[in-house]
């Protein structure tokens, strides 16, 4: 049966979306495996440390080890823009991160992003699960992360099919491993 090649060729636009203009475009346009400079976190309404913590939180909420940070960066970046136009959002995010960092300091002596094991960070997240901060981050993330077309093939999902003529000639019934009915 026809399976889906999980390797994805990224558009330049997609790469640039996740990175600050400070990164020379030429440097990333040629890279195939992604290493995300931390420059993306600079600028905007939120401190870069806040943005970096949000990315860590995002990965801890929906951990997929085959996804690079770029997807999580793209998923949380819109918060920086929302914080710029809405002071209440900015406060909500900053307070949320401050609380997480304080909890992490108290329990592990370091800030959230530096807590070593995912399981330890997840415990910290469970403690704030009922807060508006966590609920808003998670409910936004479930769309902003998984709705990135660029990651669909990594999950074996092919996306739109009508313009390809549907699946009538592309494996809608090509399963070959079932026991005979």
């Amino acid at each position: 049966m026809r399976t889906v090649d999980p390797r994805e060729r990224f558009s330049r636009r997609f790469l640039l979306k996740g990175m600050a203009a400070a990164v020379p475009a030429a440097a990333i346009a040629t890279s195939t495996e992604l290493s995300v400079s931390e420059a993306w976190a600079e600028g905007g309404a939120l401190a870069s440390s806040t943005m970096k913590t949000l990315v860590k939180v995002a990965r801890d909420i929906y951990p997929h080890d085959f996804l690079g940070d770029l997807y999580y960066v793209n998923a949380v970046k819109p918060w920086n823009d929302k914080a710029a136009v809405d002071p209440a959002v900015k406060t909500m995010l900053e307070d949320g991160v401050r609380r997480l960092d304080a909890d992490a300091q108290q329990r592990h002596g370091v800030q959230y992003a530096n807590v070593g094991w995912e399981a330890q960070r997840v415990k910290l997240l469970h403690d704030i699960e009922k807060t508006d901060f966590f609920k808003r981050i998670r409910s936004d993330l479930v769309v902003s992360l998984y709705n990135q077309h660029e990651l669909w093939k990594r999950f074996g999902y092919e996306g739109a099919s009508a313009e390809k003529g549907g699946y009538i000639n592309r494996g809608f019934a090509d399963i070959d491993w079932l026991p005979k009915a």
Partner: protein
Amino acid sequence: MTRFESNDDSVVVIVGSGAGGGTLGNELAQKGVKVVMLEAGPRNEIQDFVNDEWESFTQLAWTDMRVASGSWRVAQDFPNLPAWIVKSVGGSTVHWAGASLRFEEHEFKIASVYGAVKGANLLDWPITKADLDPWYDRAEAKLGVTRTNNIPGLPGNNNFKVMEAGARKLGYKEVSTGRMAINSEPRDGRGMCQQIGFCFQGCKSGAKWSTLYTEIPQGEATGNLEVRPNSHVARIEHDRTGKVTAVVYFDETGAMQRQKARIVCVAGNSLESPRLLLNSASIMFPDGLANSSGQVGRNYMRHMTGSVYAAFEKPVHMYRGTTMAGIIRDEARHDPSRGFHGGYEMETISIGLPFMAAFLDPGAWGRSFTSALETYPRMAGMWLIGEDMPQDTNRVTLDPDAKDKHGLPVANVHYDDHPNDIAMRNHAYRQGAAIYEAVGATVTYPTTPYPSTHNMGTNRMSAKARDGVVNRFGQTHDIKNLFVSDGSQFTSGAACNPTLTIVALAIRQADHIAGAMQRRDI
């Protein structure tokens, strides 16, 4: 295009353009009756549809404010999205999956067959299956339902083949690619199914029946039907004798308009139809129109639903091809020995990765959730759809606080699962999991109900005026020239998808209305 004058009081005004309203409008237009159809949503055509779940949701779904309450989990997961239905010309026939099944005989008389069920409000329909069968015949011919009228069944996709193989291992017999209003061969000017998937996002090939590109243009071609999109109806007006006279609506600019009418037919689905009747309260009808029984909004049904997804060692790619690609009907029978009244169907379902993330276990996070999502290409899925018990307290009311952008009170949709619904769902979860385990599932995921797609009841049909809102023809007991033309007429929900029955009732109602107009009864 025909345009009728707003003071033309000879027209029939239909509120809604879906399975009920769209069908009724065309049927009346074909008989020479002048019809103005008011649709709250815009007119998106086939070329506008997108194979992208969230983008399509934004384009088609009713996302105006609603409030959910009650013990059902939807109220917790989606407090402002109790239902996933369409606000666009064609209504929910744009996003329905196409399953077209007749009610069984006993499902028209559940009070007689099931007896007294504690906490439920059972009632027999004032019509029988024999009454409706000739209209089902016409509905099946109209929709081009596969496995009727010598139309071949659709081919099964990967998702169906997995379910079918498991079902056979369990000894189920009634397993097929079902009766679908999706062309398996070219018919009625529309092509055959291209196995695109994305049935819920509007069929890009037009192989699936929708009033959008069948009934509505056919009706318009007669010169007797005018469709006004972006027209949100606020209230229905009446005269001193209690007859309805006009419909007041907001047009796309937000300006208020008034269309006079000889007859008004409400077909805004089981949430908006009762809302409109309640929002039309007046000095003469302080509890809302057609509500002398107090039954408007009550007995809301949404089917016992749930899904079972299962992961296998090898790929399935369930999203390829028709969304509802096949059905198991063995559990649809009424057999109280299973511990519940009524029955349920198992139908394949597939959703794309974005919706799977949102609906597999709403609110869940962490590794157990993400490891489930990572099985996506190896997943098969089925939807469970069974008869839920009508309950007096499951009801649509006007929310005391929330208003829409026009300042109109919105629908509060209250639903508590009946113990019968829960027993049936648990049985269905077990059977669904067993089917997949029989062919090697490594893990199964019993998935909670999505926002309601099958909305029924709330203006139910009854023999006696005190038990319901409309009579055997969908005519309100209280007001002779006011009709209900959608699934809100349903007295029971049965174990099958509601659209074919809505269409059959609409064809029958058109016949009744045209006859009554000709005889000058109305």
